[in-house]
Point group: C2
Chain length 332, copies 2
DNA sequence: GTCAACCTGGTAATCGTTTACGCGTCAAGC
DNA sequence: GCTTGACGCGTAAACGATTACCAGGTTGAC
């Protein structure tokens, strides 16, 4: 029923040449007669030939694919990065494949094995966990890796990330300038560098500003929306904070749910400029990460690393900026 | 500097056996002595051997990869489908790669060529355009395709989609029951089946309910947020509609922006249960597509088609349901 | 006219696997 | 003891492409 796909041999036969010549035509070699070249191209069309990437890559000893690996298919921050990187890579005529790790270390490792096995030529990775993700499989195989958004302790690779410590400091200054004096922060787990750096930057800045911060100014959630809501509800019940900084996007949404419609609720400063933040009432001020710049830098860095693998890895930190909306209007 | 990766031959040498035996051990053949098997496994660990998927697939005449192709990396509806399908496929130990087409037919075709060339064993596709997407490259290559969310005119393939006509009818009935009598709908381009079916179902149902619908009850946007806003602004200016049904998620957000805070604005019924719809004030009623069921059905259908390619293709339609919130509270 | 240099295009080896085939060994049945 | 069968393993031929190498023909210089 299904006829086998045409191979380079079929093309060669119908064009009356050898497979070598077909290969040369396909790959744009200049050393082939125009007449023959026409015949070959005609034969390609006639047979509907598509080169077999498996054979080609096997012979060439490598693919020209780059992989983008992120923890979550549904988090807007990651999807923006993925979309942007895909566009850039495509413009450089690399083909791109995406994979998601479900925030699960085992899935991530399985994914690495796949990529090694498939001989991808480079990986842009948002690691699941800065302390426990093991890049060994990739680096042992000599595959260039660029870490995006989250670094990995002790990894000897390129990193493109947000300056999270600075983001936290900016958050603190923003709230301080607007007259708030009783801060709280909702962080994630201690092992996740991004949220942790934001939280410590935030609390450190308040201390520098001469504001006492109690031990319960630091609250922890599990990054999901629900935990943002429950933690914020606890803060409301305690009634001590007059402003709350939330260190990731999903918990931010949960925190907003908890204070929506609540009279005299603390000011809310969220993370990431996701769609909902500007649609809700009051609209929510956010610490906006430079998604586009991050993606660009990461893509550029990867292609550079693929070109010369032996250079010293570098780290690029990008600044966030505050987008002020109604949820942090001056106290008074 | 970079040592070449170990091959099956290296493993064979260090284990003191032939490559055939190594291959048999790796693939779990039972016909190999336990003693040798141990030695081989030890050698695999010692050398850090990872089978080369390129060689393997070349020899086997096919991969065991399935590809998920969607137009947009950032639309929550697609990302949910992608996430869900990936989970299911992984559970069936298929490996998954994702690609995005940017709502661009040329990118989509390029993508198809890649997939053919890479010999993926099945494709789950959300096509860019039901009238113009050309599945030829895939089907000619004998690759099973399941269309998700959007069908393609005249394509002889499996389809899993929402019953959009019914969704439109439900929308109309919902608004009618709540006392609204002057409907408008914001559709997309005529060539996009999903939004078009919703719109015609919606308008048809109103006529069946005995309500006159004028020609300007049907408005068109370009699917993006901004167009939702501008079209809604026009509707506000005209001042005729008392309720508006928006047929995709991004335009819904724009439409909401236009009516936010506007006194006496028409009721809003949006599409897709995206995060913002329940966070905003007033919360927005939506026609919720059965994302999870869609994904499941599509994944199941693809594996079935991969198992026996010659069966007649089938179409699965799934019903939407209305989630009632504040934006469509009864008129009065 | 001869020879060297060059250009084109074919032959065949190769990339890393899998697997059909066959060879040796051993046990069982007569 | 000899045949038969089963079993375990190695040899070598594929899969589809690329490319080093070589053969044959053309050209130009002397």
């Amino acid at each position: 029923m299904v006829s086998p796909r045409p191979t380079i041999m079929d093309v060669a036969r119908t064009a009356g040449v050898s497979s070598a010549t077909v290969s040369r035509v396909i790959n744009g070699a200049t050393t082939v007669d125009k007449e023959l070249s026409k015949r070959v191209q005609a034969a390609v069309r006639a047979t509907g030939y598509v080169p077999n990437a498996l054979g080609r890559s096997l012979r060439r000893g490598g693919t020209s694919q780059i992989a983008v690996v992120a923890p979550d298919a549904e988090n807007p921050y990651f999807t923006q990065i993925i979309g942007e990187v895909e566009r850039i890579a495509r413009d450089q005529s690399h083909s791109v494949t995406v994979a998601h790790t479900e925030d699960d270390l085992a899935v991530e490792q399985e994914c690495f094995a796949q990529l090694v096995s498939r001989h991808v030529s480079g990986v842009l990775l948002v690691p699941v966990d800065g302390m426990r993700t093991d890049l060994g499989p990739l680096t042992d195989a000599g595959i260039p890796v660029v870490l995006v958004d989250r670094g990995i302790d002790g990894a000897h690779t390129d990193v493109v990330a947000t300056d999270n410590h600075d983001a936290g400091r900016q958050a603190a200054r923003h709230l301080h300038e607007r007259g708030f004096r009783a801060p709280a922060v909702i962080a994630g787990s201690q092992t996740l560098r991004t949220t942790e750096d934001r939280a410590t930057g935030f609390l450190g800045a308040w201390r520098e500003l001469g504001v006492e911060v109690g031990a319960d100014a630091l609250q922890r959630g599990d990054l999901h929306l629900e935990s943002g809501r429950t933690v914020m509800e606890q803060l409301l019940a305690a009634g001590e904070a007059d402003c709350v900084y939330v260190t990731n996007n999903r918990m931010s949404a949960g925190a907003f749910e908890a204070i929506r419609g609540v009279e005299g609720a603390p000011a809310l400063l969220a993370t990431d400029d996701d769609l909902w933040t500007r649609l809700v009432t009051p609209s929510v001020s956010v610490v906006h990460q430079a998604v586009r710049a991050t993606s660009r830098a990461a893509a550029r860095m990867l292609t550079q690393r693929m070109a010369n693998p032996d250079e010293e890895p570098s780290t690029t930190l990008l600044r966030s900026r505050i987008i002020e909306r109604d949820s942090t209007q001056p106290k008074g």
